[in-house]
């Protein structure tokens, strides 16, 4: 199971516990660590997976990091390509996994709306959106040849609201970054940028203490925060009811070119 530490991963983990109860979760978790994740995410990951007693594999593209991969020097497309897509494909190959379960949802982004629940990947880990297996009823085709694989998305039909209501109903632990508190941020236009990793500053730019939270979690240089005072799950749900922007709007990488998520997915990005 692909474990990204985000809220959807937390929900996925709970579903896996339920699915295999009273037995243990029979597969390991794979975290693709870009090296740019928030430290609160890594702490949460290590604590929570130990608590559940699941096996955790962490995969990092150390070679690219050694070469100096970062979104400012390399640009977001090349950086994501190396630290996420390549790293993921390597991680899956290293474990010889023929299926990877992920928490992606169809309501997140336009190209994901056409994703299958069991999504086929060829030997190079690539997605061909024009040639997907038809998926009827709940009868899933799980056949693959050696070297090919499946990405499986059990949360396909969940919405962001469903996820939060489930977290509330099930009392599922999530990374504290989702909850609002005053954080030192760079305020750049509509964007709130974390200073956890050193990012190039504009002339005279200084961090300000801003009441904010993360709506989705990614790498700290590329994940903006939103203004919010929602510091509990009920308050987040309340906020969501009035929300007029989608949860991925703070993700720089979705907007680097038209149809960019689709292109990343074709190459193998989750």
């Amino acid at each position: 199971m692909l474990y990204s530490i985000g809220k959807d991963s937390s929900v996925l983990l709970r579903l896996a516990q339920k699915a295999f109860h009273p037995g243990p979760i029979p597969f390991p978790l794979l975290h693709i660590d870009t090296g740019y994740k928030f430290s609160e995410m890594i702490e949460f990951r290590d604590r929570y997976t130990a608590e559940l007693g699941v096996k955790l594999i962490v995969h990092k593209n150390q070679a690219a990091l050694d070469e100096g991969a970062n979104p400012f020097a390399w640009g977001t497309q090349r950086c994501c390509g190396a630290l996420k897509t390549t790293s993921l494909l390597d991680g899956l190959r290293a474990g010889a996994f023929d299926a990877a379960i992920g928490g992606a949802r169809r309501d997140e982004e336009r190209s994901r709306a056409k994703e299958r629940v069991f999504s086929f990947r060829d030997k190079r880990g690539q997605w061909d959106p024009r040639n997907q297996r038809p998926e009827l009823w709940n009868v899933f085709n799980t056949q693959v040849h050696p070297g090919e694989s499946l990405r499986v998305f059990p949360l396909s039909n969940w919405t962001e609201m469903d996820v939060w209501q489930y977290i509330h109903a099930e009392n599922i632990p999530i990374v504290p970054l989702y909850f609002a508190k005053p954080r030192p941020m760079l305020v750049r236009g509509d964007s709130l940028l974390s200073i956890e990793q050193p990012i190039p500053r504009l002339p005279g730019e200084e961090p300000k203490l801003v009441m904010c939270r993360m709506r989705s979690l990614g790498c700290s240089p590329c994940t903006g925060a939103i203004y919010s005072d929602a510091d509990t799950v009920p308050r987040i749900i309340e906020e969501l009811v009035g929300m007029r922007r989608s949860e991925r709007q703070n993700r720089v990488i979705d907007h680097d070119q038209d149809g960019s998520m689709e292109l990343k997915k074709q190459e193998g990005y989750f």
Binding site: P129, Q143, E262
Partner: protein, 514 residues
Amino acid sequence: MPSTTGALPETDLFESFLEAEKAKDLLRLSTAGSVDDGKSTLIGRLLYDSRGIYEDQLEAVTKASVGRNAGAIDFSLLTDGLRAEREQGITIDVAYRYFATPKRKFIIADTPGHEQYTRNMVTGASTAELAIVLVDARKGMLPQSRRHAYISSLLGLPNLVVAVNKMDLVGYERSVFEAIVQDFRQFLADAKIQSYFVPISALAGDNVVSPSNNMPWFDGPNLLEYLESVPVGSRSRRAPFRFPVQRVVRPDQHFRGYAGTVASGEIQPGDPVIVLPSGRRTTVQGITTFDGDLPRAEASEAVTLSLADEIDIIRGDVIVGVDELPQQSHAIEATLVWLNATPAQLGARYRIKSATRQSTCTLNSIEYRININTLAHESARSLEMNEIAVVHVDTARPLVFDAYESNRTTGSFILIDPATNATVAAGLIRRSYDEGKSGRTAQFEWQLQNGTLVLSLRNSNAGFTASTDEESSANSGPVAIEDIEAADALEHLLRRLRISLPNRSESEEGDYTI
């Protein structure tokens, strides 16, 4: 840009909001329409007017609209997600959309209408309870409208909405609408589908989410009102109990359970059940979940059942109630929708997957092809993509099934090409075409006698159990052949040797020496 709306709610207000959310049911619907019917515009409007679209998604679309022939907001760009589609201005695959109103949650399977993509429409309809067929008021009932209505009915959808669109382009003329209604009623006369007709303009918004001032002659609910109020989901709860086993859960010696999702009906501890295909009878001991044991479980709930007796059960077996038993057969008559560019070949072998059971099968015959424009039956020797036919397939392992009409889970299957692993067909089971042979299984008992393999065939309906005598099972003993390729091959061999497989009435078991 603070995004909270006013004061935070009182706790009890929040709790009542959550209660209301929990009480909302879900309607899954599929839409079908041709390229020019304005389907994407309709969906875009439903999403937009029910606030299912976020501002940044709208901004992305407004950016992309530049240079295309569209109005102020091109709603279709919201739903045509893939680059290829935006470039060509067509919808090429099934896309799923989500929106909710205060009354209900909705999932739309948005499928293209042009002929070569009938397979996508079948896919979208397979999980839906309602279909919206869009008709262009200027063109009336076209072949593709008939096709959509027929496929919705074939796939067992209980509800059909015929939305007569572009009423603004025919001067909101009542007679135009009524002529189309008349045509459809005639066409649907024999279908078991509940239909509702509504005149709309997706572009102008008439009768989509609000009533139309332009059509005072129409006093029925508007489209969204109808979608919010049509009854859903009661059918599978009333049906007999069916539980396809997904996984055997055995964490330690003290617990043995069978995990799966209740396909239909309901179950309580103490209820008698039968395990198929073995035919063993037992009772349900407990219903286990992560959140504790349950007093009952019903259709669509994922649970783990434990049984009073230790029975050999594997993934693919079906636990059923004792009253209305499903059928069991190797000889399946089904309506087949061909989904692959490589045509179906008579005599070809495919993997067949029905609920959780996988086996191999042979396409035995094509009884007739259904012309989906005229519904006429035609003879055919092969099936091309998007064609629909009634066929006979022979399965290597017996299929435990209900007719698709009465159970969408135990009555459906897919065919997989063993060479390419492509999903090549969708099947809707009608019946066993060879009643006399139903109940046969490919379970053999074998013995080595002086270098001769002695096979004996057992009928699983007789209550076949595995021997626990370890000494004799070393080189003899009953065996259920789980390798489906081997079972298939063995059965073919028996047939070629003209060894007929006995009916239960004639013999409880047979011994054959090869």
